[in-house]
Symmetry: C2
Subunit: 214 residues, 2 copies
């Protein structure tokens, strides 16, 4: 394993641990990484934060961050207590039969939001975007890079505006369904909502009927 | 003019005015109505609050509420400092040529949100829905009754779910455009967004291509 951080950083990490606790306590170092990650993502946003910077802030070696979490995306997901690693879920949606992609996307999105364990932390992240610039920056960059960037890449050469307007359809549905709680949308079965929005997503993402320019 | 409220209510209104201020001061009574309205809408929601209840709480005659504001909707708009009275703006969108309604709706919605004087209080209302049940109830009922109810009525017999999914498309666009500030959506000209979402709204609102049931 690579050498630990500079002496100054080691002292900081020790100070964070407090007296009398072993320096190599795994749970302790994992927590120090998560604390440092929250600070770095809030201060720099998702894109500019790095595993190296988070490791430096936590007073540990970057290899330890990779060992515990695997990637910047997974550090973010753990630090924000999100129940969803896009890199693990999106391939099944994006790599299957292209004709069914819009429906798979709608179904995965609504299925995740139907779970309180998913919804609660995600609503927290959206709320943070309303209440402060830092939250908006984190959400913008995480959604842009880890979610929509992958969708755009899978669709090759698509106008990113189309991907974002498709995302807007899904975001609007969950806001009205779970935050505003408009009826009948709040109680409608997933299948009914999927049936309504799938043609919309398909049009945006595959352009199978181009919008007429005004 | 109808008689003023009960003696007890008059005392409460006088207490609110404080000592030494004239009982018939117009600006004072207008403010008492707005304060009472905020209390009533927060406590009861938009639908259950009434001009009569607001007048009672403010210690004034209901006729005075009508005199200053004209309708419950306008009391709400004034109390929440919203820059938009749906009853005044929607007819032009809903009563014109039906074929162009979806585009007029998209254009009015985006045009209003482009104005900071409109956007700031509206974002405050949406934020209140994220942070408390009272805010969600007020927003749900106001949007449901004063906005979407009128759209559904103009379209006669339409499934309210379709109106709400159309609203979700527009709500999602303004959340990603003005709160999350995703690029290129945040900087895209209104015309480009209108061109993309108009066919979506038309499909939901006029059903001109029925979604296939899964």
């Amino acid at each position: 394993m690579a050498p630990m951080g500079s002496p100054g950083e080691t002292v900081r990490a020790a100070a964070r641990r407090g007296p009398g606790r072993p320096a190599d306590d795994g749970a302790d170092r994992r927590q120090a990484i998560l604390d440092a990650a929250r600070e770095q993502f809030a201060a720099k946003g998702y894109d500019a934060a790095s595993v190296r910077g988070i490791a430096r802030e936590a007073g540990v070696d970057p290899a330890l961050v990779h060992h515990y979490f695997g990637s910047k995306e997974k550090v973010f997901v753990a630090a924000m207590q999100l129940p969803f690693v896009p890199a693990e879920r999106l391939p099944a949606v994006l790599e299957g039969d292209p004709a069914g992609m819009a429906e798979r996307l709608a179904r995965m999105f609504l299925g995740l939001w139907a779970q309180p364990d998913f919804r609660t932390p995600m609503l927290g992240l959206v709320r943070s975007a309303f209440t402060g610039e830092q939250g908006a920056t984190m959400l913008r960059e995480f959604v842009g890079t880890a979610l929509l960037g992958r969708v755009a890449q899978a669709l090759g050469g698509i106008d990113p505006l189309r991907v974002q307007v498709a995302a807007a359809q899904m975001v609007g549905v969950v806001i009205l369904r779970y935050v505003v709680r408009l009826e009948p949308l709040a109680s409608a079965p997933d299948d009914d909502v999927v049936a309504l929005i799938t043609p919309t997503l398909r049009r945006y993402l595959t352009g199978d009927d181009e919008p007429s320019k005004a």
